[in-house]
């Protein structure tokens, strides 16, 4: 996916610049509406430009931390959920990442996942407990591979940067519209001098405030949809098992009817499946949906003809959509990769065990200790009670020491 990485770097520059330009235009319009003069418009543009610079710096340096904090994500270590951590490590090996990404869990019944990080060296993969509950090992591997595909294709930083910028434009424009609504236009004192220009400004500025956020979001969404297909192609290649991702996506489609409490319009394009809040408003496949329709993604993954390489994905994509998804250079470097067998015992883990493992992951990642009493009861002790709870709640016997 070298071509994709190179083109991503050009695109990031283009997107960041054009969203920046839109931001400045919004500032101009806002200044014009507030001050009603040319100087006011310039002032607005300068303020918007400063805001843009600050946002860019913040999102580049700590965008991932902000996003993880917004979701209340807990870092998961090997002992908390062995399967999840193992799967992430496997995919890091398959993708030849320089370092294994960190793993986080969000307590949310809606099944979803996303990746964060500024580069492949400091990436992180986050999944919801809802996802851990419904997917078997192969499916989980497919989802993680899709996210690692985003990391490998350098999508993550761009999406986070663009998302924060678009958010800023939306907020600015909203402010402007409200100011117009409640405050009306302020008349310039020197209205006699440049009445014609003033009138045009007064018509154009409100229009700008309506159009800027729409076009910003449009730019952003157009970027994110193609990336989903490419990450699917990477996911199939890394796992060598397209069926895992396909069946995971089907389960996700059924599962996203559970609303994702942590999702918002700005973060929607990051997830593997469009969260409920978004998919309810837009029809599948419309210009404003952040994700391509899941049924189409599944159909492409299932028409790869027993192969898992990028060229097979390209052929399947062409068969379904009638156009090309992957760059020519990447295709030339692709060599045929056969699909592997389903992993042994992948389906055997009972659903109740998966539920328990998901809850345990969250509890032990939050510092809960687990103690098994000789009467057979297993106690999960919150960090606030560590060392204070010394007797079993069921039989009253003395509990063994908490393993630290």
């Amino acid at each position: 996916m070298w071509e994709q990485i190179a083109s991503n770097q050009t695109r990031s520059a283009v997107v960041v610049a054009s969203v920046g330009a839109l931001l400045v235009t919004t500032g101009l319009a806002l200044g014009a509406v507030f001050a009603g003069s040319g100087e006011g418009a310039m002032g607005g543009a300068v303020v918007a430009l400063l805001l843009w610079l600050i946002l860019w710096m913040v999102s580049a340096s700590s965008g991932d931390k902000i996003l993880l904090a917004l979701h209340g994500a807990q870092e998961v270590r090997k002992g908390d959920h062995p399967i999840l951590v193992n799967v992430v490590e496997e995919m890091a090996i398959a993708a030849v990442l320089p370092k294994c990404p960190r793993v986080f869990v969000v307590d949310d019944p809606s099944p979803n996942a996303f990746a964060t990080g500024t580069s492949p060296d400091n990436a992180a993969v986050t999944v919801t407990t809802g996802l851990l509950r419904i997917l078997n090992r192969d499916e989980l591997q497919g989802v993680v591979a899709h996210e690692i595909g985003h990391v490998k294709n350098r999508d993550v930083k761009l999406m986070a940067t663009a998302g924060i910028m678009v958010g800023a434009i939306v907020i600015l424009a909203e402010m402007g519209r409200r100011a117009m609504w409640y405050g009306g236009f302020r008349r310039s004192r020197s209205s006699s001098k440049d009445d014609g220009g003033q009138a045009i400004l007064m018509i154009v500025a409100p229009l700008m405030l309506i159009l800027a956020p729409i076009s910003a979001e449009f730019l952003y969404l157009a970027l994110s949809r193609r990336r989903e297909y490419l990450a699917d192609a990477s996911g199939a290649l890394f796992t060598r098992y397209p069926e895992g991702l396909a069946s995971a996506l089907e389960k996700l489609e059924a599962g996203t009817s559970t609303p994702f409490a942590h999702a918002s319009a700005a973060t929607a394009p990051m997830y593997i499946a469009a969260p409920r809040a978004m998919s309810a408003s837009g029809e599948a496949g419309s210009l404003f949906s952040t994700h391509p329709p899941i049924r189409e993604r599944v159909h492409i993954l299932r028409s790869m003809g027993g192969r898992a390489d990028v060229a097979a994905y390209e052929a399947a994509y062409r068969g379904v959509k009638g156009e090309s998804a992957v760059g020519a250079q990447t295709l030339a470097a692709s060599r045929p990769v056969a699909v592997r067998e389903a992993s042994a015992g992948a389906g055997s883990t009972a659903e109740v065990d998966r539920h328990r493992a998901a809850s345990n992951a969250l509890l032990s990642a939050s510092g809960y200790g687990t103690v098994t009493c000789s009467c057979g009861a297993t106690l999960k002790i919150p960090p606030s009670l560590a060392g204070r709870l010394t007797e079993c709640l069921r039989c009253g016997r003395r509990l063994p020491e908490l393993p630290s």
Binding site: E89, S343, G345
Partner: protein, 183 residues
């Protein structure tokens, strides 16, 4: 005369620069191959460490399977002793077959299947097996890149001192047993 000398000097400088860049490229390729191999090595060691634990755990529940257990231990010891891609490939394939045979036997012992120790080991071995597969893919990719780089003209003029890298083949017993139908 002066011009001819200058041209000659210029040409030889270009030739030396070219040699250096080709040589460095080949060294980089060889290091990539070495690096990828050490990735596989880490995972193979991990499996060699896990197998004795598995054997011990199974022994506690299934005493009558000593023959299978011995086979696994023997395959593991052979895999530990193997050196070089060809030998390692053969020995590790046998170990894979032996371990999956052991898991098949475990199906008959419900107590064993339900023990937390066994479930944990099964997950670790499954994951290690996957990692070996993925690391092998990455290794073979790097071998192919290096060998192409080495054989292509004009690099092939310089590449004499670089040995050809060997791919790692791991064919499972099941794969080998399937009759190949050719038309």
């Amino acid at each position: 005369m002066l011009i001819a000398v200058l041209v000659l000097v210029g040409l030889s400088v270009v030739a030396v620069l070219w040699l250096v860049s080709v040589y460095n490229g080949l060294v980089r390729g060889r290091n990539e191959v070495k690096n990828a191999w050490s990735q596989i090595d880490v995972q193979l060691k991990r499996r060699h460490d896990l197998v004795p634990n598995l054997v011990e755990t199974v022994k506690g529940y299934a005493k009558h399977e000593s023959e299978t257990l011995q086979k696994v231990t023997a395959a593991r010891n052979m895999a530990v002793a193997a050196r070089g891609p060809a030998q390692v490939g053969a020995a590790e394939s046998q170990l894979t077959a032996a371990v999956s045979g052991l898991f098949a036997i475990a199906e008959q012992y419900p107590d064993l299947k339900a023990s937390a120790n066994f479930i944990g080991l099964q997950e670790e071995l499954t994951s290690t097996e996957n990692r070996i597969g993925f690391a092998r893919q990455a290794y073979n990719d790097s071998v192919m890149r290096f060998n192409n780089q080495r054989e292509q003209f004009p690099n092939s003029v310089v590449a004499g001192s670089f040995e050809k890298a060997e791919m790692l083949e791991l064919t499972s017993a099941a794969e080998r047993e399937v009759p190949q139908i050719k038309f």
